[in-house]
């Protein structure tokens, strides 16, 4: 949907070709990479959701994992107990999570800043408790198992099939978010983040839009959680604990709060970083000997990166990359014949 400008079209086509052909390549790593891509795509959707809430609207949430859990449970319950098909379950996951999100967002009428963040943290713990103890629905700590639906005789959680599903949905999520911030709703979110009082005084119903932000954010989280459930085929309360929420906050911080592609970069980064560290540590393993050091090292690097980003690049990877990108394109522009007018200042929000 208008993703490409005239200039970007070759790249877009190349990307499309890589996207479609890659799953059929036969590297040793193809399947594993597909797995990582799938996990990243799910994370992208979740991170976009959190970014709408936290990055754009300025409401800190430590409950993203809980919301994703609601989505995952919705899918699991609908497909095992009711037996509905996927094309109903995934939107349903989004909608149910939206409702939960609105409830969780209600304290934002009175609570601000860290106090609101704490109420989302409370929601995270409460949801976990509900997952664990509403046994007639969730089967408690044992969790629910689903049999993934089949597409052309192949289970949807087959890495290759799922790849097309998850990446397409992730792209849709990106486009949806981009469009959202072209219109009044998105602008209202940013206004609330920048100065909620002024927003209210110029006629924005701040409370309503905070709830809308919670709703959209949790819709994304719900869909991401639902996808996760289809991919993993199991959901139990351990799957979405606080540390996952923190990972998501880290994604948008590292990627860039309040930026569209920040969510994407952040998700890629946070999903792949542990892999890279793992590989690095495996190379160093003969020297280090102790296996748990790489878990420790992963944690340390993760922490250091968060700190470094906040101290030196508070605007995240999106800013870094756009700086790099503009440097490259500046050079190119100098070389190019000047047959084009000045570049548009269009995407100022990004």
């Amino acid at each position: 949907m208008g993703l490409s400008h005239r200039k970007g079209r070759p790249y877009f086509l190349l990307f499309l070709a890589v996207f479609i052909l890659f799953p059929f390549s036969l590297f040793q790593y193809t399947k594993y990479i597909l797995f990582l891509v799938n996990m990243t795509a799910i994370a992208v959707i979740g991170a976009l959701g959190l970014n709408i809430l936290t990055g754009y609207t300025g409401l800190i949430s430590l409950g993203q994992a809980g919301f994703m859990g609601v989505g995952a449970y919705t899918v699991a319950i609908l497909s095992t107990k009711v037996g509905l098909p996927m094309w109903i379950n995934l939107p349903a996951a989004g909608i149910i999570t939206t409702l939960v999100g609105i409830i969780v967002g209600t304290p934002s009428l009175r609570l601000k800043g860290f106090y609101l963040a704490m109420s989302t943290l409370a929601a995270e713990f409460l949801l976990e408790y509900v997952f664990k103890n509403w046994e007639s629905m969730t089967q408690g700590v044992q969790g629910l198992f689903i049999t993934p639906p089949q597409v052309f005789g192949v289970h949807i959680n087959n890495d290759r099939v799922f790849y097309f599903l998850s990446v397409s949905l992730a792209v849709l999520a990106v486009i949806g978010t981009r469009n959202l911030f072209r219109t009044n709703v998105g602008r209202a979110f940013i206004a609330i983040r920048d100065r909620d009082i002024a927003a209210e005084l110029i006629g924005i119903n701040v409370f309503k839009y905070k709830l809308v932000s919670f709703a959209i954010s949790s819709f994304y989280a719900g869909v991401a959680g639902g996808l996760w459930c289809y991919y993993m085929t199991i959901i139990n309360p351990e799957a979405f604990q606080l540390s996952i929420s923190i990972d998501y906050v880290a994604m948008i911080i590292v990627g860039g709060m309040g930026t569209l592609f920040g969510s994407v970069y952040g998700a890629i980064f946070v999903v792949l970083l542990p892999e890279l560290i793992q590989r690095l540590m495996e190379v160093l393993q003969p020297v280090l000997h102790m296996e748990y050091t790489f878990a420790a090292f992963k944690q340390i690097v993760f922490g250091v990166i968060i700190v470094i980003f906040l101290v030196f690049e508070p605007k995240g990877l999106a800013e870094v990359l756009s700086r790099l990108g503009s440097r490259v394109s500046n050079r190119k522009r100098k070389e190019a014949v000047q047959n084009e007018s000045l570049p548009g200042t269009g995407n100022s929000k990004i």
């Binding site: 963040a117 109420s119 103890n133 906050v249 944690q299 906040l310």
Partner: protein, 294 residues
């Protein structure tokens, strides 16, 4: 009735440890507006340092304790000097995440150094215990109760009367103004982190003494958040009272409510209570309301 008394005593004993750890969080918030998610890790690392000095280096206990506090203070100073100083005036979420980052680094560091085993903590306290209303209260709880009470009084007086304490409050309220008044905001912040780190270490030593020492000890940092918020982020008395309330609440919920709701209701009880309180009093029991201006 007898059971209720036992429940309350049990709640207050664990609550006194919550209070002590919550005090550190409040202290940092009060003087720098930073919400410290690394408090739990500071608690854990403090406990490990003592362990290393006493058990691994076999130093005398008093010397080890003195050294531990020295190292912990240094650690606090480093955190402030090399990380938080660069984040003055940053948004709330940046501050939250940066302390989480620090927490990851500290947890990872402890894991790399000591591994993920359980360690038996050295007996730093005399094996003395008191029988209070049918509950055996070991000396560790008495120590932590005492420590949090003493620290409460000390900090209250410190903030109210001492020049340094007043400067800290001024610096937290308005860093620019503080500079104009000739208060070195940096020195004040540095000092806060040193004190907080030391308080966290004290909490860590007490906490590790009542159970085994493990890297997961840092989880306490999350447990005390309801305490901090309940009391009000910037209220020292609130931290102490909140700790005792949350401790008792958990005990009551664990004994009386969990059997009906099932599962481990104790853990969420404090959060449920917290939500209710926040809806009535959005800034906690004793917290100061933030005034907004146009």
């Amino acid at each position: 009735m007898e059971l209720l008394i036992q429940v309350l005593i049990a709640g207050i004993t664990i609550g006194s440890i919550y209070s002590l750890i919550a005090l550190g969080v409040v202290l940092i918030f009060k003087s720098s507006g930073v919400i410290n998610f690394a408090q739990g890790s500071m608690v854990m690392v403090g406990a490990f340092i003592t362990y290393a000095l006493v058990v691994q280096f076999k130093l005398p206990i008093l010397l080890s304790l003195a050294l531990t506090f020295l190292i912990a203070g240094l650690m606090g100073m480093i955190i402030e000097r090399f990380v938080l100083r660069y984040l003055a005036g940053a948004s709330l979420i940046s501050v939250i995440m940066v302390t989480m980052g620090i927490s990851y680094i500290m947890d990872g560091g402890a894991l790399a150094t000591w591994g993920s085993s359980n360690f038996t903590y050295p007996k730093l306290f005399p094996p003395f215990s008191m029988q209070i209303g049918g509950v055996k209260v070991s000396s560790v709880y008495l120590w932590s109760f005492l420590a949090s009470m003493v620290l409460l009084v000390v900090f209250l007086f410190f903030f109210k009367y001492s020049k340094m304490g007043l400067s800290m409050r001024a610096a937290a309220d308005n860093q620019k103004l503080a500079v104009v008044l000739g208060i070195s905001a940096r020195r004040v912040l540095s000092l806060t982190w040193i004190i907080t780190s030391a308080v966290a270490t004290a909490g860590g030593i007490l906490l590790a003494s009542i159970s085994a020492l493990h890297v997961n000890l840092s989880y306490i940092g999350l447990v005390v958040f309801p305490v901090v918020i309940l009391g009000g982020l910037d209220s020292i008395a609130g931290a102490v009272v909140g700790g005792l309330i949350v401790g008792s609440l958990e005990a009551i919920a664990g004994v009386y409510i969990a059997p009906y709701l099932g599962g481990a209701f104790q853990q969420v009880a404090s959060f449920v209570f917290l939500l209710i309180i926040l809806l009535i009093k959005p800034y906690g029991l004793f917290g100061t309301k933030e005034i907004e201006r146009l």
